[in-house]
Each structure stands twice: as C-alpha cells, then as structure tokens.
Amino acid sequence: MLRDITLGQYYQTDSLLHRLDPRVKIVGTFAYIISLFLFRNITIYLIAGLWLFAMIRLSKVPFRFMVKGLKPVIMILLVTVICNVLFTKGTPVFSFWKITITDEGLKMALFMTIRFVMLIIGSTLMTLTTTPNQLTDALESLLSPLNKLHVPVHEISMMMAIALRFIPILMEETDKIMKAQLARGADFESGNMFKRVKAMLPLLVPLFVSAFRRANDLAMAMEARCYRGGEGRTKMKPLIYKNTDRRAYLCILVYLVVLIVGGFIGKRLPL
C-alpha cells in the first residue's frame, strides 16, 4: 500500500556515485538545485537535464526508482500547474467564459514543472546513492564550522539520522495499523473530506503512540551504550577526501560555469 515512496531510501549497488564522498554529493546536489533557479530559459534546462541524465547513468540506479519518487508529489505539482496557468496575467492566448489562459502562464507552468521534476529527481538520486548514515556524517562535517557559534551540529545531524532511519519503519507501521483497522471494518476511502479526516484518527493515534514508544526505547538503548552527545566523540569511518572526490568537485564547478554561460546565452535567444 505504502511501499512506493522512495524519497529517503537507499538503493544498494556499486557505482561511482555510490563510492563518492557524501560531502561531494551534498554540495553537488545543492549546486544543482541552485543552478535550476539561477535562470529561467530553455538552455539551462537542457544543460541541467544533460547533467542529470549523466548522473543517473553513473549511479546505475534503474530510472523507475526515481519516477517512483515523483508519485507522491504529483498532486502538489498539478495544483501549482493549474494555479500558474489560470492566474498568471499577460498576453491572452485562449479565453473561455471567465477563464483566460495567457502565454506567460503557460510558460510559467511549463518551467515550473520542469524545475520541480528535475529537482525531485536530483534529490532522490542523492538519497538513492547515499546511505542515511553517510548523509548525516557529511552534513555534520560540512556544518562543523557552525560549532564555533555554539550550534549543536552533532545533535542536529544525529536527529536527522534518526528521523531518516525511522521513515521506512513508520511507513511499515502505518501499513500495519491501517490493515488492522481495516480488519475492524474501518473505511479510509469513502465519504467526504470531513469524514475522511475523522477516519484517519484510528490510524494516527496508534501511529503517534508507537512513534513515542520507539523513541523512548531508542533513547534508552543509546543511553545504555553510554551515548553522551558529540563532544569528544570519534568516528570509526572518518570522511577523508580522495582524488576522485577532488575531481568530482571540479566537475561540479565546470557544470556550474557551463550553466551560467549557457544561461546568459539563453537570455538572448527568444523563448
């Protein structure tokens, strides 16, 4: 029922992207996401699309896993597209009753969709190729300068690691409770909005109870193993940059430069 959500799930295989230092992947993903918002013209989407395609090939993760990650956000996407098409003012292309569809609106909707899809696929790719542990280690390492400002970086990254780790567990739990309530005649599908929200109660209450129980157990288990926070804590596998990682940083830089140049060229082109 709920097994389709891939966001935050790791795909086990051996590829260049999998072996890369997670810090590179985080920086790369950020650079990629920012690059999508730098300009709004077709050239940069082409460049970013090529880059994304190359990354997907390098990752050796089947493409359908990324498409699966899109499924849960399709509703949000549809709403934004409709809003953009209907409510953007500009040169009208098509008019019917009170609805006017404008050239700008269509363009906006198209760009929004491309951006959104590429953004989701790009970030899904990062979580598919990086284990949650690596991801949070990398974040901790990248954010460590903030330690000087008394930001509890280790604690934040630990919280993230736990949150990520719990996504699949809670998914499974939801599935289980849902089935248990269905077996007691619960109905999650029919009825109006109000009824449906009310029908979620038998699902949400046990889910929260179990989340708290699990959190409690985990805290206990961590304390039993003398967890005392980040201070003086060493790592079994510290992150160390290798030559491949340096080359990867260079690739990201080249990508950004190409994209920015492409963006300026694209501005001069029509569309």
């Binding site: 089947p62 409770i177 248990a180 077996a183 007691r184 005649g185 619960a186 038998p202 109870v209």
Partner: protein, 285 residues
Amino acid sequence: MQIIIDQLNYSYGDGAMRQQALKDVSFSIPKGQFLALIGHTGSGKSTLIQHLNGLLKAESGSIYFHGEDISDEDYNRKKLRSKVGLVFQYPEHQLFETDVFRDVCFGPKNLGLDDNKAGLKAFEALHQVGIPEELFYVSPFELSGGQKRRVAIAGVLAMEPEVLILDEPTAGLDPRGREELLTMLKKLHKQKHMTILLVSHSMEDVAKYAERVLVMEKGSVIHDGSPKEVFSKREELKRLGLDVPEITDFMQDLQREGFPVNPQMITVEEARQEILKAFKKGQLC
C-alpha cells in the same frame, strides 16, 4: 465448507525484487474447526491470513467464503471482514480510543450498528475475554500488556465473526497470560462453534489446542493433517527450522532407547498416561 482456498498465488514487490510469497496454496476449512498454521518466519503465514479477509488481493487463484468468490468486484468486503475476524501480531498497537469500551465499539459501529447495539456487543466481547467491568472506562494505554491484548481481541470479537484468525496472539505474554488467552479461544471454539485459525510458533500450544495443523514452507502448504500426524515427522520439521513439542521429542527418544512406548504422544498428559501404562504392564525396570 466454510472457506475454500484454491490455487492461491501472491508476490511482493516487482521486477528484480519480486518475491513470491504464496505458491499454489489450496486447502479448505470446514465450519467450527480449530486449525493451527505453523512455519518459520517468512514462510508466508501472515500473507496467507491477510488474504482470507480480503486485505490482500490474490494474483491468481480464488478464495470462496460460503461458496462466494471474495475477489469478485461486487463482493462486499466490509461484510467479509466482520465475518472473518483477523487479529494481527501485537494487536494492542491498534488501540486508539479514549477508553476501553469505546475502542471495542469501533468495530461494531463500523458495521453500521447504533450506539446501543454496538455497546451491547462490546460489553459481551469484553466479558468473553475476561476484562473486569471496572476497567471498561479507563484509557486502554493504562492497561497491562496482557490486558491490552485482550481488549484488542475483544475489538475483533465484538464484530461477532464466524471465523477468528489470530497471528501469534501469545507472543510476548507471560505464561499465565498465554494460558488464559488460549483457554479463552478454546471456549469460543466450543461454545460458539467459532472456526479458529491460530498462527503459532509454540508447538506445545499447537499440540494442545489444534485439531488440524498446516505447515508452510516457502509459500506453500507442505503438510496438512492432525497434530499427531504432523508431529510424527520430527526430522523433517527440524530441517525446516521448526520443532515438535518437547514431550514428543522425549517420547521418540525413549522409544529409540528401547522403551515400549508409543512415540506419537504430543501433550504431557497423553505422555504421562502412556508411560504409566508401560509401567503397569511391568515392562519397565
């Protein structure tokens, strides 16, 4: 026959991660039988029982409940779920209401009963599972583990199912809780002629309560017979990661050592009689 299962197949996942969970499962359950389903973890037991009340849909094959195919488009699955009660593993995790009584009312109310009728059913069900009245209006989260479990089972019983399926209902209970729960099931079976399907890892419980045992392995039912028949295959069960009741183990060892006892005893009581009989005949010592 109350339930007929015919050539059931089911797989999880797709593509490379596809795993066949059920393979050509066929058997039928007559009304009023007490069955046990055994098999090691991942053998498809839980998948199978979820098919019986329509929570999972078979890929191929069919299940007939009172002669009607439950996978038919227009089959009333909600009604089926009230007739085939399913108690999941750790059912106490599904409790959600503010008090015990209301939680048990959830099932009957979903069937469209009014407050009075639902309350009556809840009252009866709570009595059946032995929850004292002073606990009716406390929060289910304040109860002990065993009590919670019984309340959760009452939540299914309140729908008055004809068939009750329980997935390891005694897991995590203390010995007394186990005994009480299983005695209660036996009583339901005897008094209400309820069909009971018990998924269990305790061979002792299976030997003591079940009339028929199904053994699952890799998604197929590989043995189907009385507990005595099934537990006579000690070596095979052990190879499958299962076991026979300790007392059966013991009797089979005794016989191997040359004592004139029948090794097919599966409960302690039977074994006691058998050993005493051998003593009386004067064949021992």
